[in-house]
Amino acid sequence: MTARAKNCGGNSGGKNGDGGSAGNAAPQGASFEILAREDFSDVTYLLEVSHPMMAKAARPGQFVIVICREGGERIPLTIADFDTERGSITLVIQAAGKTTREMQQLCQVGTSLYSMVGPLGEPSHISEGGKVVCVGGGLGVAPVFPQARAFKQNGAYVIGVVGFRNEDLVFWRDKFESVCDEFIICSDDGSVGIKGLVTDGIEIAAAKHADIDEVIAIGPPIMMKAAAETTREHGIKTTVSLNPIMVDGTGMCGGCRVLVGDETKFACVDGPDFDGHEVDFSDLMNRLTRFKADEAEAMERWASEADQPAALKSKADASAPQRRAVHGDIGVHWGTIKDNDGY
């Protein structure tokens, strides 16, 4: 661990470019340093970030807003795990758009994020006992894991259903299975577990258990919508975690508004958990396309070799890592709508 953490974007640690105003940028000595990193595939990676106070405060279902480097954008990322002994929180990220790809490249162990605030959102409601199905679709496996674990700790009977496109994209299989009483894994192409979608997994669980109290489903919006439709027929209460575009994440701008029943709610302070049978998923999916054109422009600039860090406003220093061409599927980004991912 370097004694003086260097910012991902190349800024020297400690000074956050605020002029004289900000004093200490991080609360209670948090450095936002990356303590560990794991790459599950070409597109999915894990970052363990130092923040002792947040590790103590975080509860399942909550998220953070992160800025990778100065001049970057604020993006929401669900807290996939928190460790009070190591004083860290864990984020699992899919590299889909410009920012997540940039983070994939720059966020190495020893570097620091420019800003991270949380834990945001209302914590998930974890019942005592009962029987629950925890469903994670693709990247959704990460945010649903702490909920599954909490249910287990609260004495519930936990049925885990996870789905990936194929075997190469699988991550946290053992970790997830370890907090479940029953475990079903699905893949689109049948390369691992059952050939099918998580909705097939839910049907299997529902067929076997007539007394399921709740289904928690997290993944791309289209997957959560399909999961909710599946459980609606069985009359099982379903909770989903919504992922609209966010800016401040503290209830101040209304950018994350979602339609739940006939009410407008702000996902960052009223959610992110909502009743899956009340959510207007079409509206959510439409609003996730707000910046399609800008996202494409940003990706084009990022991908072109001619776009060097010096062109950006951030004070990236000369020793920033060389950009390499990124290959692999775009996949489904946690914050934007892409292919329907088979659901």
Binding site: N16, D18, G19, G20, S21, A22, G23, N24, A25, A26, P27, Q28, A30, M53, M54, A57, Q62, I67, G71, G72, E73, R74, K98, T99, Y114, S115, M116, V117, G118, P119, L120, E122, V247, D248, T250, G251, M252, C253, G254, G255, R257, L259, T264, F266, V269, D283, N286, R287, T289, R290, F291, A293, D294, E295, E297, A298, R301, A311, L312, K313
Partner: protein, 500 residues
């Protein structure tokens, strides 16, 4: 010197150099360029130096206005700044954004016959000079051992922090965003309040010993209760603002291209979206932008849209200009910049282009009927006057609700509208916890928030039993330290005390 009268002072208010509308819609530089020394001295001559200044009473933070003006006339600019900053540590900010026309300038007697003394412009001139010269007052403060936490680094929190730091407290300010300043930073655009001004004046606060910790959302990272029970704070001030935007509930509100003014301003002012893709946050501004509302926030949104390249910017407001709550100066500048004002118009529906984006609005024309509870004439729809127009972005600036997080995460008592319930000393339902600014009153102004911050600081000092070292003390009477011939002794404004 011969006594001044209304006839002997310069009769015309000194004009302030201003960017032309054609120039300024292309840039985010300040509209009003500021007085030079000659302008300032000339304007100071117009002050009658009233023995019983109404302007001081009308100022929410009781700046000794004739005091600093007299010092400017005597050429003692640094001393004038000291007088000014004694009451207001953010003069370059307030000089720019205060509605002086409703406060000090409204009661200036010169304004009875001529135009009032341009107090705000003078305040700005002094504040800017201090920035240029690098002045800041840093008298040594003996630590008193008390630790105070401030939630929110906006004007209320900063004003409270400054007063408590000057009294010797160990003060920490917590800010949820990654940059400090609150609404000064995210809400007020660069052309009204440059970031550099915010940086320097906030820097003066930190030079008093105040610590500012960003990226901290109080209520979630730790609660107000934890601050008192576990983190060793003796008192807490909450200045979290009223930032949650209101929508109308009309059809089409969730189409792409509809956003709150808060979102537009945060993307632009805080995140640099105007410079996308050099800054990563996008805005995707339309060509024809309609802003609903006509307050100061609406004006800011309109003028930002104009500068970022919108060809047409509409202001849709259901009443008339006379009822608009915005500063006259802002409306005036907005008109010059080519904003198309549609008074007496109310939105009915936002129209879909078939692909989930805004293509236009349907509105209804209104006329003014009888006054409602607020005293303003209530608008009444005109039957059959609905019409549609093209737009590709609709911005809501119709007011805000209180931010829910403190209410969700603490046991503090809220009032029926969701704001924090406080008594006349700004104390909340929890001992040692005070609150002020928009989270108590609803959306208001920077200077009122600062006034609340200062008032809360007085209450906190009283609660903790902190004594100002130079004041004369009478027996405690309620929240104040007592008065001497009607002048509050908590005020360390000795020029006024001498006059008593």
């Amino acid at each position: 010197m011969a006594k001044k009268t209304i006839r002997t002072i310069p009769q015309e208010r000194t004009a302030i150099p201003v960017q032309t509308p054609e120039d300024r819609v292309q840039n985010f530089a300040e509209v009003a360029l500021g007085y030079l020394q000659g302008h300032a001295l000339n304007e100071c001559e117009r002050c009658l130096l009233c023995p019983e200044p109404a302007c001081v009473k009308a100022c929410p933070v009781a700046i000794n206005i004739p005091g600093f003006i007299e010092q400017i006339i005597d050429g003692e600019f640094h001393a004038a700044y000291e007088t000014l900053s004694d009451a207001n540590l953010l003069p370059a900010i307030c000089g720019r954004v205060c509605p002086q026309e409703d406060q000090c300038e409204a009661v200036c007697p010169v304004g009875d016959t001529l135009e009032p003394v341009a107090i705000g412009r003078l305040e700005r001139w002094l504040g800017d000079m201090a920035i240029e010269q690098g002045w800041n007052s840093q008298p040594y403060h003996e630590p008193n051992g008390f630790k105070v936490g401030i939630v929110g680094s906006g004007p209320a929190g900063i004003a409270c922090a400054a007063d408590l730091a000057k009294a010797g407290c160990d003060v920490t300010v917590y800010e949820a965003l990654h940059k400090a300043g609150g609404v000064l930073r995210y809400g007020i655009p660069e052309f009204r309040l440059p970031n550099q001004v915010i940086d320097v004046e906030m820097g003066n606060i930190t030079k008093l010993g105040v610590k500012i910790e960003c990226n901290t959302l109080v209520g979630r990272l730790f609660t107000i209760e934890q601050m008192i029970d576990e983190m060793g704070y003796d008192a807490v001030f909450i200045g979290t603002g009223a930032g949650s935007p209101k929508f109308m509930g009309i059809p089409g509100e969730s189409l792409n291209g509809v956003l709150s003014a808060n979102e537009l301003l945060t993307r632009t002012n805080l995140m640099g979206a105007g410079d996308f893709p050099n800054y990563d946050t996008p805005l995707h501004l339309g060509k024809k932008v309609a802003i609903i509302g006509s307050g100061n926030t609406a004006m800011d949104a309109m003028r930002v849209a104009r500068r970022l390249g919108a060809e047409t910017v509409y202001c849709i407001y259901r009443r008339t200009e006379a009822e608009s709550p915005a500063r006259e100066e802002e409306i005036h500048h907005a008109k010059e910049e080519g904003i198309d004002f549609r008074w007496l118009t109310t939105p009915v529906e936002i129209l879909d282009d078939g692909e989930g984006n805004v293509r236009g609005m349907r509105c209804l024309e209104m006329e003014l009927g009888e006054p409602d509870d607020s005293g303003r004439r209530r608008p009444v729809p005109i039957e059959g006057s609905e019409y549609e127009f093209e737009a590709d972005m609709v911005v809501y600036a119709i007011g805000t609700n209180p931010n829910p997080i403190i209410g969700q995460t603490s046991k503090l008592k809220l009032n029926q509208w969701g704001y924090l319930d406080t008594d006349e000393n700004l104390a909340t339902s929890m001992a040692g916890v005070y609150a002020g600014g928009d989270i108590v009153t609803g959306a208001a102004t920077v200077i009122l928030a600062m006034g609340a911050g200062r008032k809360a600081a007085r209450s906190i000092k009283s609660y903790l039993g902190i004594r100002d070292t130079d004041a004369v003390y009478l027996p405690e009477q309620g929240g104040d330290g007592g008065t001497l011939f009607g002048i509050n002794l908590e005020e360390r404004n000795f020029v006024r005390l001498q006059g008593a």
